[in-house]
């Protein structure tokens, strides 16, 4: 999995609300940094949790280093609008005044997609940024975007294409064309869809995949997050789910635990199978991490899993909780 990611320059992490997008974003970033890549994590949600997961860092509109080889920044709507105003005016102070006014915000809100467009433009500018002697090196080797939930990521990613259809000429068409090329270039960009082994989350992932394929945006194998690491064999599942459960007297008191676990496993396996069949692509499983311990240590653990995981396969034989 991580090899797939390392070949790209720009990875958007998206999925249904609550599936663990932020954790996967940061785990991908840490895993890439271990491979000596300079990574930038971009947060789009103004109420995002990237800073909190990193131990209470406040993110700003400019990248700051948050871990070795990992920088992070967030997209602030006022700042991207200001960028736009500056681009049109070339006078920063005036642009600031204008953007601060409520009326300007209302007029800007009436121009749907402008914030999305400017957000992508800002991300693209980080992708293009170069440093060093004669600007030979990329400032960032990889940009991982903690993108909004499915419902908003689709309009975000389709903005340049929509704009290009609407306005094939004009000053913004060039930018829109560049963005469309960047988003559809499989050597540069890919989408990491995060999901859970649950029916609704898988449904939403399949709908998302259909839209992204239509937009021509490359997909990575989907990541099924929070999968229970404990697995019963088929024979064990049959015994536990039988009526009554086929258990020796010494284990009968534990039938309820076993049946609950087995039923959850059955649902999860069915959903992972359905996801794989529908996408014709194996998925990658991440184990559940105790939420209370969530922080740098848990993220490093997830990064380990991502580094070792192979789509469709189990990381190691007989993994047990």
């Amino acid at each position: 999995m991580i090899a797939d990611v390392l070949q790209r320059r720009l990875v958007f992490v998206t999925g249904k609300g609550g599936v663990g997008k932020t954790a996967v974003t940061l785990a991908l970033a840490l895993a890439a940094a271990r491979e000596r890549r300079r990574v930038l994590v971009v947060e789009i949600n103004p109420y995002g949790r990237v800073g909190e997961y990193l131990g209470g860092v406040t993110l700003g509109p400019e990248p700051v280093e948050v871990a070795p080889d990992v920088s992070a920044a967030c997209i602030v709507p006022e700042i991207v609008l200001e960028d736009f105003a500056i681009r049109m005016l070339r006078i920063r102070a005036l642009a600031r005044r204008l953007v601060a006014s409520q009326t300007f915000r209302i007029v800007a809100a009436a121009a749907p997609g402008i914030e999305d467009f400017l957000t992508l433009d800002r991300i693209a500018s980080w992708e293009a940024a170069r440093i060093g002697l004669r600007q030979r090196r990329h400032r960032f080797d990889l940009i991982v975007v903690d993108a909004p939930a499915t419902g908003h990521s689709v309009p975000l990613l389709s903005t340049p294409g929509t704009l290009l259809k609407l306005l094939p000429f004009g000053p913004l068409a060039g930018t829109a064309r560049d963005l469309t090329l960047l988003l559809s270039d499989p050597s540069k960009t890919a989408i990491a869809m995060v999901t859970r082994a649950e029916e609704m989350a898988v449904n939403e992932t399949l709908e998302l995949a259909t839209v992204l394929m239509r937009l021509g945006i490359p997909l990575l194998p989907p990541i099924v997050n929070a999968v229970s690491p404990l697995r019963f064999t088929r024979a064990e599942m049959r015994r536990l789910l039988a009526e009554p459960p086929d258990l020796p007297p010494s284990l009968r008191a534990h039938a309820a635990v076993g049946r609950f676990g087995a039923a959850r496993q059955r649902t999860a396996e069915r959903e992972i199978r359905r996801l794989g069949h529908a996408l014709a692509m194996p998925s990658l499983r991440l184990p559940v991490v105790p939420a209370r311990a969530f922080g740098m240590a848990a993220l490093e653990q997830l990064a380990d899993e991502l580094a070792n995981a192979r789509p469709g396969g189990r990381r190691r034989a007989g993994g047990m909780a």
């Binding site: 949600n45 005036l94 209302i106 121009a111 635990v257 609950f260 209370r292």
Partner: protein, 382 residues
């Protein structure tokens, strides 16, 4: 907690479950919470619980989620009420349950028609592109219009209880601040600015500033592909004269959400991040003076699973050793999860001492039929 109204379905002397309090005490319950916590399921389960309690209830949603249709066993979900076929579940149900969509765009259009001085004026506004984007895209306008529609349904007094499934918000009060945002836009001051946009830069409305604004607006026009300024001016002219009617209406809706028999239910899961968000929502509600009805904690691991001590793999027979080890591991993990969840639920209880806190147990399947939804309702009531 104050005494609650007796319910027709209440058995005298039976211990009252917290859900009974919720569905008997209020006429309007709004389920709010972050994305993915199960608001739709919680709202549907509450509605079903109310119907089984003998009440005539309706579940209203803003998001036309397919799952709500499936789990309620109805073929259609739109702006009209559809009766949930409860008789399929239990012939003895005395209450009823309807489901309907709070269609924001249609509501906004209806308001424009109501307050416009003439039909022609209404049509002009409805055709205006600024109106079309504002009525659908301006953050909060959807939520506000849903509240407006809700107000109208509540005024008809057709139901004993309305349960509302709100859209996921990071910010619990988005839909409550929406009227302010809208009235600000429609108020005469904002309207004046829109008619003469250069007054944004009023403190130095020099020629330079005006030229600056013109340049940016030109940029926006290029972006949107239409004459933004002309459309804005048309829109403002179009709504002039009926914005005061709209404003008093918005004030009414805001007051309606603070009535005595209205409550906001915070839906959450027992995960630390979600609980943290719910605690923030709870503080926001208090700050806004909105009535808090309780917490609905979804997907709680059933604690009874780990009531017995963990199995001892050494005592299992040779052929069962592997299974016994897995059961022991599963037991340990469930016990740890249950303990962590108890701690999170305690944080919620501590933030609102005495407030109802209803747990919805984790299921092995998500509810995709009326029958599986009934399992959840059973778990709530018993």
């Amino acid at each position: 907690m104050t005494a609650s109204r007796p319910s027709s379905g209440q058995v005298a002397g039976a211990p009252r479950a917290p859900i009974a309090d919720l569905v008997d005490r209020y006429r309007l319950l709004l389920c709010v919470g972050s994305g993915g916590v199960g608001k739709t399921t919680a709202a549907a389960a509450l509605g079903l619980g109310a119907a089984r309690h003998g009440r005539h209830a309706a579940v209203l949603t803003i998001d036309p989620a397919r799952r709500l249709k499936d789990s309620l066993g109805i073929a259609k979900l739109d702006g009209e009420p559809h009766r949930v076929p409860l008789e399929r579940l239990d012939a003895t149900v005395t209450g009823s349950l309807d489901a309907m969509l709070l269609d924001a765009k249609r509501t906004f259009d209806a308001i424009i028609r109501r307050y416009a001085p003439s039909d022609a004026a209404a049509e002009r506004v409805l055709a205006n592109r600024i109106y079309q984007t504002i009525s659908t895209a301006l953050a909060g306008s959807q939520e506000y219009m849903a509240m407006e529609r809700l107000h109208a349904i509540a005024s008809e007094a057709r139901y004993d209880l309305l349960v509302v499934d709100t859209p996921p918000t990071q910010h619990a009060l988005d839909f409550l601040e929406a009227p302010e945002r809208l009235t600000a836009l429609l108020s005469s001051r904002a309207a004046a600015i829109l008619q003469n946009p250069s007054s944004i830069l009023s403190r130095d409305s020099s020629r330079l500033a005006q030229a600056a604004l013109a340049a940016v607006l030109r940029g926006l026009e290029l972006f949107t592909g239409f004459e933004l300024l002309r459309e804005v001016a048309e829109f403002v002219a179009g709504i002039e004269g009926f914005s005061s009617g709209f404003q008093s209406r918005a004030a009414e809706v805001a007051a309606f959400l603070r009535e005595r028999d209205t409550a906001f239910l915070l839906v959450t899961t027992p995960e630390p991040a979600r609980v943290g968000e719910s605690l923030a929502f709870h503080r926001e509600l208090a700050r806004a003076g909105l009535p808090f009805g309780g917490f609905l904690v979804n997907r709680v691991l059933p604690a009874h699973l780990v009531d017995a001590p963990a199995p001892d793999p050494d005592r299992a027979g040779e052929g069962d050793a592997a299974l016994a080890r897995k059961l022991a591991a599963l037991h340990r993990r469930f016990a740890a999860v249950a303990e962590a969840e108890r701690a999170e639920i305690a944080r919620l209880a501590q933030a609102a001492p005495g407030a109802p806190l209803v747990e919805i147990p984790l299921q092995t399947e998500e509810p995709t039929s009326l029958r599986s939804l009934a399992h959840i309702t059973d778990a709530l009531v018993s």
